[in-house]
């Protein structure tokens, strides 16, 4: 082929590809018309289930079957107006699974002249979003759970899924919701965020966790919110972290029920997880040969908080035994050996995510309570390692991980660490937050309510817990930066970043659309995994709640300074 012919081929290819892109985009983009809904699906929900449904022409229209069902106690009438619809790709299956925007798009299925709808509310109640495709290596689960979604359609149409896929027509529908008799709640934004709202949300999170503490002191570790079922699994580090947060809320409110819950949870740690690690004490499972630094560090945080808030001063007596274990796990360079072999009675020099930062923070908090200089020295050495050798590699100035304890330790140590250490730590933490801003969704970056969340691309629904934990660290950084006398413009940027994140978290606090839950009061105040993932693990509320408590404790400064670079 001559060079001229090759050139012509490439030009033709560029033009053809451009045309193909335009055609594909236009074919699948929705033409949303909220003023003229195509159809309105009216559903009566009761205890998380649809008890009556009819297709009507406009929101507010009455139908006998709906009115009767809606008059029952605890029933909610919801109108989902179909404001747009469009085609879907049915092959490959992954493309079909990815053809629906989580929480926004539902499915219409037509077979032999009959049409049924599987609405976004149906899919949320079934927890079908973000359960379609799992990429284990990237720890991502995305897309619609097709068997679950199709089952709802095939059941209504009386056909098999295979028949529906081969001979039926599937389309995606975009809906807007109207709840009969309910006013539209005011959206919480970065600008509207205020202390009373944040306090209310934090207390609700604490009360949610406290309600789940049983008489033995065990949390409802993992809950499927729509059905209010407790799922299997447990974990001491998260138990300790949740205890720390519940104690924070007890201290903030003086609520006796929350305080007793914190004490029961603390007692479980003390009576059932406090082990011998050689001559010292640590936290772990009695029948496990290995104990870890993370469980012990978070237990120190919990015990310090129980003592600091005077829920039970006696917990202060346990702290020195545990910090002695943490110090014994520390290497000469400040790094910690994260595991301990209880049979061989020696540390195992491996490093796991978060543990060193947790230990630095715990040692600092312990020193704040008891004043043992050895704890302070160990905390400072751990911090110096974390902001130095532990994060020093080619490209480390351009990349940060998810570790969110180091900056909390930096803030906690601010008045006690050497000036050079805290300045270096502050630079490290400000750099991490700046990196986070680059990964932050703006209001127009996603079809989801994601302004203030972290992530890339539209397909993966942003998870809320990383927002909560990064906010804990970001607010600690903001407080330290204020004490360091950083310029107002620099503070304003970080302040704005935190406000956007906290506002987003508050917008997603449950129960939200309460009618989709079997028992909305049981999950009131909880934090879900994401906008559409309504499994509730105890650390979800803990990280977000602790961030809110930090925001409430921030040194008050004017927030009217404009935020350069706040372009999202």
């Amino acid at each position: 082929m001559s060079a001229r012919a090759l050139g012509r081929l490439l030009v033709t290819w560029v033009l053809a590809t451009a045309v193909a892109c335009v055609v594909v985009h236009r074919a699948f983009a929705l033409d949303v018309d909220e003023a003229q809904p195509r159809e309105v699906i009216a559903s009566v929900w009761r205890e998380g289930r649809v008890v009556a449904r009819a297709v009507v022409t406009r929101a507010g229209e009455h139908a006998a079957s709906l009115d009767e069902a809606a008059s029952a106690s605890g029933a909610t009438l919801v109108y989902e107006s179909v404001v747009a619809e469009g085609p879907v790709v049915v092959w490959p299956e992954a493309a079909l699974s990815l053809s629906f925007v989580p929480g926004r798009d539902g499915l219409s299925a037509t077979f032999a002249g009959r049409t049924t709808y599987v609405t976004p509310d149906d899919l949320l109640a079934k927890q079908a979003y973000d359960h379609g495709i799992t990429l284990s290596s990237m720890q991502i689960t995305t897309g619609l759970d097709l068997p679950l979604a199709l089952a709802a359609a095939t059941e209504a149409l009386g056909v098999s899924a295979r028949d529906l896929l081969e001979h039926g027509v599937l389309r995606r529908i975009r809906v807007t919701r109207t709840v009969a008799g309910a006013s539209v709640p005011r959206a919480i934004t970065a600008d509207s965020l205020d202390a009373s709202e944040v306090r209310r949300a934090a207390v609700a999170m604490g009360r949610y966790l406290a309600r789940g503490v049983d008489e033995d002191g065990r949390f409802r570790y993992l809950v499927n919110a729509p059905t209010n079922q407790t799922l299997p699994g447990y974990d001491w580090p998260r138990h300790a972290g949740a205890t720390y947060f519940v104690a924070q809320i007890a201290g903030l409110t003086g609520d006796a029920d929350v305080g007793f819950a914190a004490l029961r949870a603390g007692a479980l740690l003390r009576d059932h997880a406090l082990l011998h690690c050689g001559d010292l004490r640590c936290i772990g499972e009695e029948d496990s040969p290995v104990a870890d630094v993370g469980s012990t560090a978070l237990a120190v945080l919990a015990f310090v908080e129980l003592a600091r808030t005077h829920l039970d001063d006696g917990y202060a007596l346990l702290v020195p035994e545990l910090t002695a274990f943490l110090r014994a796990q520390q290497r000469a360079d400040g790094e910690l050996m994260h595991l301990y072999d209880r049979r061989a009675k020696r540390p195992v020099d491996v490093q796991l995510l978060y543990y060193s930062g947790e230990a630095a923070f715990a040692l600092s908090r312990a020193h704040g309570l008891l004043g043992d200089a050895r704890d302070l020295a160990a905390a400072v050495r751990a911090l110096e390692h974390l902001i130095g050798p532990a994060w020093s590699f080619f490209g480390s100035q351009y990349y940060w991980g998810e570790e969110h304890w180091t900056c909390q330790a930096m803030d906690d140590l601010w008045d006690r660490a050497p000036a050079s250490t805290r300045e270096t730590a502050l630079e490290f933490c400000l750099g991490w937050q700046a990196y986070g801003r680059q990964l932050m969704y703006g209001p127009d970056d996603s079809p989801l309510d994601a302004d203030g969340a972290y992530g890339v691309g539209p397909i993966v629904t942003p998870h809320l817990t990383p927002v909560g934990s990064r906010s804990e660290a970001g607010l600690a950084t903001l407080e330290a930066a204020r004490r360091a006398g950083r310029p107002g413009e620099e503070l304003a940027v970080l302040d704005r970043q935190m406000r956007r994140s906290l506002a987003m978290l508050l917008r997603h606090q449950l129960p939200g659309r309460a009618y989709l839950f079997v028992d909305p009061t049981a999950i009131d105040g909880a934090m879900p995994g994401s906008e559409v993932d309504w499994q509730l693990r105890i650390d979800y509320a803990q990280h977000t709640g602790s961030a809110l408590v930090r925001w409430l404790a921030l040194t008050p400064t004017p927030t009217s300074v404009s935020a350069p670079g706040d372009n999202k």
Partner: protein
């Protein structure tokens, strides 16, 4: 006849392309899918053969390089078209893809371009058989 220097450059480039395709598909991709795997396997074998033949100055080296380049170009153009259409589909379904999403999609496309479009075009132009004598 291809110069020694050109044979060396194209030979190494073909081997690098084989490594990039082989590692990219069989190591970096998290799942196996026969259309992608088989195309990558064919291209890897062709590029290795072309690279080795050019470096060893085999008589069939230029023909092998032209064949490998033609296959690479066809696959590269198809891949970029599919990626671009996929991005268009995603933006149609989801609306805004955000700066992060756009950067990722662009990076993936740009990573394929040097190996699967630019290099094959240069090789195909450079390795054109000489025009036949008129008459």
């Amino acid at each position: 006849m291809l110069s020694r220097r050109a044979a060396l450059v194209f030979g190494i480039a073909d081997l690098l392309t084989a490594a990039a395709v082989g590692l990219g598909v069989f190591v970096a991709l998290p799942a196996r899918w026969w259309p992608v795997d088989s195309a990558a396997a064919v291209l890897t074998v062709l590029e290795v053969a072309a690279g080795a033949a050019l470096l060893s100055r085999a008589t069939w080296g230029e023909r092998a390089a032209r064949a490998a380049s033609a296959v690479a170009l066809a696959l590269g153009l198809f891949l970029v078209t599919v990626l671009a259409a996929t991005a268009s589909w995603l933006s149609g379904v989801y609306g805004p893809v955000g700066a992060g999403g756009a950067i990722i999609l662009t990076l993936v496309a740009v990573m394929a371009l040097p190996y699967l479009v630019v290099l094959p075009v240069v090789e195909l132009v450079w390795l054109q058989p000489p025009p036949r004598a008129g008459g």
